[in-house]
């Protein structure tokens, strides 16, 4: 019966292909939305793990989180180095990690920080050691793989966040001393060095007490001291609370009483996903409507085919096919179209993610993975197969209303 169902599908090839395409588009759209929303949510959750609060310059709190936690936006500005001291002395703060941003190497961001940054993301060294001396750098796993850089190699960072060799700091190259194992977090795409190294690249003298964690962002002009030399600054501070009280007190106090801004990754990420979520829900609804239209199209085609093929259906029964077998042929046609559409859609969906990742660096930066399967995809495929079978059910049931003798005596 499978070969007969395939023969009927081949007989009306163009209509079959159009139906498959319609379902494939719907499935591809659903797959893209599923992978994007789930991977983005997972990635956001992983990247912000262990970071309760981000303190930076006044501006958009979402921008502060995007630039300092997910490393996909520009910073809101710089803040005085003294802010780090003040936070570290607060009894509600368990850990305060400085960030000095502003340079890149071949599009990968160079982050001035301290080894606690590596620990907070659960990263481990795959090769070499942690940066210690100035101008030493540790590469994330993706950076090492994509640039081909190895231990001992030297490279010069470029000014800004986009790859632009004309802005290279050729006089102050970094040396690779370590490579991190893959973590599936933003760390994979970062180049880590000390804050003092970032300062040194830009000719800023290290602070006598905070040489380890001072820094400066090129996105803002350095603040000049009274003698005209740039003051050490940092871009942001990643804070982990010591206790629950701090979560209530600290952000409010910082935002109200200082010139700094405090933003919670959890709140801002939820806000971001909420904004995305509404758009994703709309797109998801549209995709399911497309799938329903695909099902309706299968129904119309099969119903009209079942009418045109009444003679065939009657002949099959007279030749010895049971009614269940004849019904099965029609159901198989619906199922085969749906299965082909579902599989084509699955492939197209993953291919679209791969193309989008290759075309939009931000998607690569948030770690969108095209070639991983999500359990939800099985549910989408099952739903589309069910649509195919449901669409074929009524046309298939016509077999029970056929008067064999009358049908066979009519002209074919």
């Amino acid at each position: 019966m499978l070969s007969l169902a395939l023969a009927y599908l081949r007989e009306r090839g163009l209509v079959t292909i159009l139906n498959i395409l319609l379902l494939a588009l719907a499935v591809a759209m659903l797959i893209v939305l599923l992978l994007f929303s789930s991977q983005a949510a997972d990635r956001f959750a992983r990247d912000s793990q262990g970071i309760d609060l981000v303190v930076g310059a006044k501006g958009s709190p979402l921008q502060l989180i995007l630039s300092s936690v997910y490393h996909v936006d520009t910073a809101t500005g710089n803040i005085p180095l003294q802010s780090l001291d003040l936070l570290r002395k607060d009894p509600g703060v368990a850990r305060a990690i400085p960030l000095a941003l502003g340079d890149n190497f071949r599009g990968f961001r160079i982050v001035g920080t301290n080894p606690a940054f590596v620990a907070v993301h659960g990263a481990k060294l795959a090769e070499g050691r942690m940066f210690a001396a100035p101008a030493e750098a540790v590469l994330g796993a993706d950076v090492a793989r994509q640039t081909g850089a190895g231990l001992g190699q030297r490279f010069a960072g470029s000014h800004g966040l986009a790859d632009d060799e004309s802005q290279a700091h050729a006089a102050t190259p970094f040396t690779v001393v370590g490579i991190l194992a893959p973590t599936g977090t933003v760390t994979d795409r970062l180049i880590l060095t000390s804050v003092a190294s970032v300062w040194a690249v830009h000719g800023i003298a290290p602070h006598p007490d905070e040489a380890e964690h001072a820094g400066h962002s090129h996105e803002q002009s350095a603040v000049l001291d009274p003698r005209g030399s740039p003051q050490p600054e940092i871009t942001a501070i990643l804070v982990t609370y010591r206790n629950a009280m701090a979560a209530i007190r600290l952000p409010a106090a910082i935002n109200r009483e200082t010139a700094l801004q405090a933003a919670s990754p959890a709140i801002e990420t939820a806000r971001l996903l909420g904004l995305f979520g509404a758009a994703l829900d709309g797109a998801r609804l549209f995709a399911w409507m497309l799938a329903a239209i695909g099902g309706l199209s299968i129904f119309v085609v099969l119903l009209s085919a079942a009418r045109a093929r009444e003679g065939d259906m009657a002949l099959l029964q007279v030749m010895g096919a049971t009614r269940a077998q004849v019904m099965g042929v029609v159901l198989l046609e619906g199922l085969l179209v749906a299965a082909a559409g579902a599989l084509a859609g699955l492939a197209i969906g993953h291919l679209l993610i791969a193309l989008a990742r290759a075309s939009f660096p931000t998607l690569a930066a948030i770690g969108l993975q095209p070639w991983v399967l999500h359990p939800g995809e099985a549910a989408i495929l099952a739903a589309v197969l069910a649509i195919g079978v449901l669409a074929a059910l009524i046309p298939a049931a016509r077999v029970f209303n056929t008067d064999l003798a009358r049908t066979l005596s009519r002209g074919s």
Partner: protein, 213 residues
Amino acid sequence: MQLLDLQHVSFRQGQSDILQNLSFQMPRGGHRLLLGPSGSGKTTLINLIAGLYTPDSGSIRIAGTDMASLPRPARDALRRRHIGIIFQTLRLVSALSLRGNLQLAQRLAGKPRDGAEIDRLLAALGLRHRADAALRQLSQGEAQRAAIARALAARPDLLLADEPTSALDDANADRVAKLLLETAAATGTTLLIATHDARLKAHIADVTELAPC
């Protein structure tokens, strides 16, 4: 034992008597004409023998089994085992090639796929060169022979042919009649032809004449 045994078969449609008290028997390998004008109940009788209708009275036994006493699935199975039908409308499964139709007929009849038998049948009917052609490419004459091939592919014990020569000129009617008889004889098939075409009397001696009631 007779392969086909009709005893006092009557059938009504609405208020009209189509067949009244009809009886005849056919042994295995026998040939018979059901001869009568349009409206005399020939096609109805073919459908009754095939188990597509059940008689209002009387019995139709195929290989000793009364068709009317069986539930539909058993009736379908009996038809599948014993009967092949050539419809006046030359039915074939449109999506399949001629060979595909013959293979399907063998499969549905529960017979093992026999490619050699199909090739022999197609050769005997002059259709070997059309074996893999789409059905729409067949001429009327080829389609007629294809329908015969389809009905014979499963090697039925009883072949029912409804007006197999109705649209043919003398030469072609003669050819089809000879073909049916030769093929039936070669395969030991019992042949019952329902027709209004008196030309076939030249080929088959046993005739049951039907007239409108």
